[in-house]
Symmetry: C2
Subunit: 251 residues, 2 copies
């Protein structure tokens, strides 16, 4: 919950009333165990789901049974804000760890966006950042060897989790198995295992149970070719134009 509001703060300048509106918007929440689907390809849901705690992912299954994970969802991330426009889900969303998930009705979303331009801007910002992350993942996948790819992902999650208060300066909990990592990175489980070992023996990462520790963040970022610009986590010059009303009243 606080993760959600912290995230939104990165997308717009919210005041106390805005934060209060967001808090009220969250209606029912539910607990879901690890490895359960929140929504499936072809679904046309009536509510919007939001991760409050735990890790989830967007994924597709291929005819030959392979799984491809196209996004990791952490607390504060929306699952399916967009599906009403597209008609139906073109992918699945499943939990990776046990999750707390909020359900927000369409009516509530409509109310928020009709009434509050700052919240609307924050929601739109979140959606565009997701797109930026997808582009960077594509670069990662296409042009970096698996060892750097892993390092890049670990850097990205450090930034994203710090943005919602779930990581300290150089470590965080990452509840993914190596098999799940292999579905993210598009390579074999064995290769993940060996690449992680390489990163560890290079002193770039350490692993204590489910917690990742990055002894020297700058060094890992350098090794992985990571630059955080695509996460757009600073609001600096972003408020000038009026064109944020682009998506006004699309029904």
């Amino acid at each position: 919950m606080t993760a959600f509001i912290k995230k939104m703060e990165h997308g717009a300048h919210l005041d106390d009333a805005d934060r209060e509106m967001l808090r009220h918007a969250i209606g029912r929440t539910k607990q879901i165990g690890a490895r359960h689907d929140l929504i499936q390809e072809g679904d046309e849901p009536d509510n919007v789901q939001l991760i409050l705690e735990g890790f989830a992912c967007r994924y597709k299954l291929l005819p030959d049974g392979q799984r491809s994970i196209m996004a990791l969802l952490v607390p504060g991330d929306f699952c399916d804000l967009h599906v009403a426009i597209l008609g139906e889900m073109d992918h699945n969303i499943g939990t990776l760890s046990p999750c707390t998930v909020a359900e927000i009705s369409r009516e509530t979303v409509d109310y928020l966006t009709d009434e509050n331009p700052r919240i609307t801007r924050a929601l739109w910002w979140a959606s565009l950042v997701d797109e930026g992350v997808l582009r960077e993942w594509l670069v990662n996948m296409g042009r970096r060897p698996v060892e750097q790819r892993l390092g890049h992902l670990i850097c990205e999650l450090l930034e994203r989790l710090r943005a919602v208060g779930l990581a300290d300066a150089n470590s965080y909990d990452l509840p993914l198995t190596q098999e799940e990592l292999s579905d993210v990175m598009g390579c074999s489980l064995v290769h993940i295992n060996r690449s992680l070992q390489a990163l560890r023996s290079a002193g770039l990462i350490e692993w204590q149970g489910k917690r990742v520790i990055i002894p020297n963040v700058t060094r890992l970022m350098d090794h992985a070719g990571f630059t955080p610009n695509y996460l757009h986590l600073d609001k600096k010059r972003r408020m000038k134009g009026t064109s944020a009303s682009l998506m006004a009243n699309a029904n």
Copy 2:
């Protein structure tokens, strides 16, 4: 121009007045030669650019000089509709072939979206489809060998170009070099060359100059594991909710 309107029609039910508004929205157009940047990383443009003719791409350059192409833009596609919210471009856009590009001022975009909910819906739809395409490319990159990957891209472009009237039932002009294809597919030029040969000798594609011919579309789609659902090119049950107003007045 007609490509642009044809594309928008896939996103919402437009009437004659809507189409007229779209036609008027396009102000200055410019001709750009092949391999010129339309916008670069770090830019904060005041106008929105729209491809009217030709092929362009989104790309990033890596420190070691490698190029990664994360999206192909064809007539009807927007370049940077979103950048006002994010603050600055996190990637470059460059032409691949000579292009005709329209510049639309922010004021015009604001006017359209304030006044016309159907156009707003169509614009939002376009943005969400871009995201769906990114997800599918990520699957393609991570889980399919290069030969199928190429087949998949060729199928996707057939659908996208047919949607804007630039392809017939089984062929279209594809003005990309093999080197550019290698930057899209994240592999070496030599490997692209050999994979294309494999597709040709399997009778799955033919190449006449810059034109791709697909002798048997079903067979290629099958070979590549292509399903067009992620392009959301049919409007069927898509108009029920009101939540398309999600992005209303975000300034």
